[in-house]
Homo-oligomer: 103 residues x 2
Amino acid sequence: MKRIEPLSESYYYILLCLAKGANHGYGIMQMTEKLSGGDVKIGSGTMYGATGNMMKKGWIREIMSDEPGLERRRLYQLTDSGRKALRAEINRLQRMLENAEGV
Amino acid sequence: MKRIEPLSESYYYILLCLAKGANHGYGIMQMTEKLSGGDVKIGSGTMYGATGNMMKKGWIREIMSDEPGLERRRLYQLTDSGRKALRAEINRLQRMLENAEGV
DNA sequence: TAATATATGTTGACAGCCGACATATGTCGT
DNA sequence: ACGACATATGTCGGCTGTCAACATATATTA
């Protein structure tokens, strides 16, 4: 069942935020809300569940912060695999919209 | 929490198929597979769960078939409310793609 | 000093989705 | 007449994602 799994809205925005640069959980939550114009809010339960899941999948990896004083942050970086997953999702969304032409 | 609920891929295609004309469960399954180029297959569990759910929401209604010999079919028709839900979802997908510009 | 923002995490409950299974009729080739 | 397949609808159980609520700790600002 190698079917391309649709991503949830939350997962999509997490990947999207990380595609614009490494970030940490709380930062992603804020960025998502801003990026979506307030429409999408990711709760911490969703956030930290998702990061664990994506680490397992190899879509993101944790990196050390080079900024002093921000050691509390856990910085995540998109992997090549994660970027592929995001592109696949973008393509899926585009196909979905194409199929809606004339509706 | 009046947050706009994202639709699943299956729900989206069911509404999309019905937007092109009244249809029955099995017909929607086939139409979805064809429409998506074989990418999206809706299982019967999803299908009949979804129709019940959408009936409750008022997105679809059941109508009587005027074709003789096809009494087994349960024909569904999109309501105005269902068409609105579909348009809202299309807009959501478009916004998601706009947010991905430059990725 | 108190409130708020930053930052990460756990837990429990709920709902949705899907695959697998079940059932029945219709059709088509041999 | 028979078997295979397509048509057509439906149930059930498990898995996953989501969110609210709770918990903890530090930093900033009034």
